[in-house]
């Protein structure tokens, strides 16, 4: 019944994860938009970012956000490719490229979040 190795994976897990991550992203996105755009400064000045990043919870939320965003986005792109009848080698190359792209941008994003310093003496407004 299964002609190719890849057809053993029905894609059901990624389908469920796509919906769960999508719903989580909607919630996170509402908070992100309010946080970044409520005032002109809140999202676009270094001090605002630095002040926010003193709270580890913001870092954790951002780590989750970037992870879910990249997963949902790249899984979506993979879903588009899966709509077409591609040759197995092309399928594997695309999947590998998307995986490398995801890991690279995830590492870049994590690196940015962790590079923001914790300050010893600051007055939080």
């Amino acid at each position: 019944m299964y002609r190719y190795q890849s057809s053993k994976n029905s894609g059901a897990t990624s389908w469920v994860l796509q919906r769960i991550s999508g719903l989580a992203l909607v919630v996170l996105m509402i908070g992100h938009y309010i946080l970044m755009h409520y005032t002109p400064d809140s999202g676009h000045t270094y001090d605002a970012v630095l002040g926010r990043m003193q709270f580890s919870w913001y870092r954790i939320i951002d780590l989750v956000f970037v992870t879910l965003g990249l997963y949902h986005g790249l899984n979506g792109i993979w879903g588009i490719f899966r709509d077409y009848k591609l040759k197995p080698w092309l399928k594997m190359s695309i999947l590998t490229s998307l995986f490398i792209l995801g890991i690279a941008f995830l590492a870049w994003g994590y690196n940015i979040i962790f590079s923001i310093p914790y300050l010893n003496n600051i007055t939080l407004k």
Partner: protein
């Protein structure tokens, strides 16, 4: 036999652009097309977003000069388009989840209309609250 009179239209592979454009599309088709376009645009934006925030590692001056470059009218317009794309993708995403998990196939056309109405209301409301400073800036206040 009635079947003899029914002409089944064949999809011409060679004319696939023309075939796709001439194909009658209802709300579901459009939702699918828009969801795809906005999705591709949003993942592209996420890469750009990580790239632009990478200046945070360089400290205050580097970051703020980068942020300054995003205040041009072009980027302001792109930010508004981004909000439209995020809203469509979110609301249609909720619609997809309802179709999959809440028997939404029975009312997906209604859901599509509701998501457009909700989207326009949210665009105006969120646009006014969050970008009001940009509106003021545009009109020289």
């Amino acid at each position: 036999m009635p079947e003899d009179h029914v002409k089944i239209k064949k999809f011409e592979q060679k004319e696939w652009i023309k075939e796709n454009i001439s194909y009658h599309k209802d709300s579901g088709n459009w939702a699918w097309i828009y969801h795809r376009i906005t999705g591709i645009a949003l993942i592209g934006y996420l890469f750009l977003h990580i790239y632009s925030l990478s200046t945070l590692t360089g400290g205050r001056e580097v970051f703020e000069s980068k942020m300054q470059s995003f205040t041009s009218p072009l980027f302001m317009a792109l930010e508004w388009i981004l909000l439209i794309f995020v809203l469509f993708h979110s609301l249609n995403g909720i619609r997809i989840v309802l179709v999959d998990w809440a028997d939404g196939a029975r009312y997906h056309k209604t859901l599509y209309r509701i998501s457009w109405i909700a989207g326009i209301i949210l665009f105006l409301a969120m646009g006014y609250i969050m970008f009001s400073h940009e509106i003021l800036k545009l009109f020289g206040k």
